[in-house]
Symmetry: none
Subunit: 183 residues, 4 copies
DNA sequence: GATGAATGAGAATTCATTCAT
DNA sequence: TATGAATGAATTCTCATTCAT
């Protein structure tokens, strides 16, 4: 009965993603988004009361998607398989880390997203424990650091355009056995 | 007979540092800085044509300071000593990484700062080469990744407040020999 | 076979009344009204071309209702009875005064409502004349002031919550014989 | 040293007064005011953080001016003189009543201005008491109503342009001895 | 008749920047 | 040099109103 929508929430989220990564939290504006979608600013306010609500919703949505996939780590048999799964997942969702950082800038959500981050870590406790039980992971290293390290590795800027395969396998090697030889 | 300056560039840079880290690129304003220094906005424009020029100058200055110290790595004898020196330096200049990220947001400076980052890496080529010559560093890992990894490690958020000494020594261990056992 | 109306004009006017008194002319919006009636904004535009038309219609309607009752003043025998009737009527329609003030804010209706106000006064000429003929009302006081005074008395804010009966009888006393003693 | 001001706070308040009375609380905008003063909107924000702060300040200022004059009522000898003084004052500050009503619309100031109104009444307790002591004012009428009535009388709209002198003396007559004859 | 989308104009507010003194 | 004023552009947000279904 009503007029047909000029854009879907999916499209809106898609554009939001692009613009957010490109311009950052402060640089992202309703004007930018409206232009991307070829709609008026006002139209966006029908769906989200303000910028922060939009971004909060969007990032929660993305995080949920990511956590859903992360959950599948439990389907992998053995620590090594889980490790590979995790790295592959992280590398195919590079932007999630950036979004999380952006999320932390949204005023009023500090705890909310702090918690989310925390949850994600919690989520991987099983994986860590398994690694330590299997004697694969060094028991002396704090769990938080292990996870932090793995997640962080995705953020190392590849300024020199080293081929992805080399890059990724090197990272795995460092994570596993470090950059020092055993001599 | 000139009127005495109400503030020195040192003070200006010091406040800039504080405010920039606290509020980020967009959040940093001349108003904020002027208030911190108890001067008028207008006065700041006598020294820097605009916000971006100020920030560019400031970050270059900081980077120079850092590079100066980094240069001292050559005074260290042997790769192991240089490695320790580098890590200690990075951990005592945590904010440099943040400033670099901020620098990348300044429009028109993309390459400029890309280059600076690049230079810093260049700077450490000697260190890397030494490590590989001494047979300490795995020769298969790209130099850029080695440095990237080392620098990045400082940015892993210690959400669970693990004591610094444990944190740092664990990081060193991972960098050296990874998080996997050798079994 | 037409779809049944989801709301009657009576309901619409009733809600308009509430909202108008609560939020004032500027604060009253179609959105507010639509929500109260559980209809869409758009639906309201089927009945009234715009906000001002709605409010104009509504206030005219209310005024008509009020004038209808006011007309009954002629049924009262004698000036004293008419006086009591009038006061009782005014006190039981406190909001009419507010609506009239609001009406004066509607752009383009200045004269229209000026006239309406005027008419109401005209309406009570008979009452005034009777009072003066009966020698009850001081002939020196302009008719407009007599009516203005009576109507205005309803608008005195009772900040200290003096009981209505005391309040009203005191007002009557002032209107009749003033607040000064006769000494 | 700095540029000369294009407008003074006095001019600003003067224009505010005009515009506020003409357009009401909602209708009053910084744009309107800026235009009146031939300045940019932005300039106004140097003096007042926002519309409400401006209006609050302005109205407080006006009220203070008024209360200052009101205080002089104590210089008048005897109740009759005070009564005349009060009426003359009120009639020469017709707009104060309107401003007070507007003040009540400013969100967050409800109590603040409620109190101010209250204070003004308190201020006149002495006058009322004197009137009752001298046996001039009917002791049965609540003080609040006496004052309310006096203040309110200024607000009766003189739609028919009755000459001020007649209007005012008639009002005084009604206040003193009512509109009824003594028969 | 009714809906819900979309528009577009206007208002508040913030700042980088310019300018007269 | 420094000041404090003023500007103007950008941004957020709110509605009255229009429109396709």
């Amino acid at each position: 009965m009503a007029r047909e929508r000029k854009f879907s929430i999916d499209e809106l989220f898609h554009e939001t993603n692009q613009l957010l990564l490109k311009h950052g939290y402060d640089g992202f504006t309703f004007g930018l988004l409206a232009d991307s979608l070829n709609v008026s600013r006002g139209a966006l306010y029908k769906y989200f009361e303000n910028k922060d609500e939009l971004l909060t919703n969007f990032i929660f949505y993305e995080m949920d998607q990511f956590l859903l996939k992360l959950k599948q780590i439990d389907d992998q048999q053995g620590f090594e398989a889980q490790f590979d799964f995790l790295l592959q997942l992280i590398f195919s969702h590079v932007d999630i880390q950036k979004l999380i950082k952006i999320a932390q800038q949204i005023p009023g959500n500090e705890e909310k997203f702090g918690k989310l981050h925390f949850d994600m870590y919690q989520y991987l406790q099983g994986f860590i424990e398994l690694g330590k039980q299997e004697g694969k992971l060094k028991s002396t290293i704090p769990n938080a650091l292990i996870l932090g390290y793995i997640f962080q590795s995705v953020a190392i800027p590849n300024h020199f355009d080293i081929p992805t395969s080399v890059w990724v396998s090197s990272i795995k090697e460092i994570i596993r056995h470090g950059m020092f030889t055993n001599t």
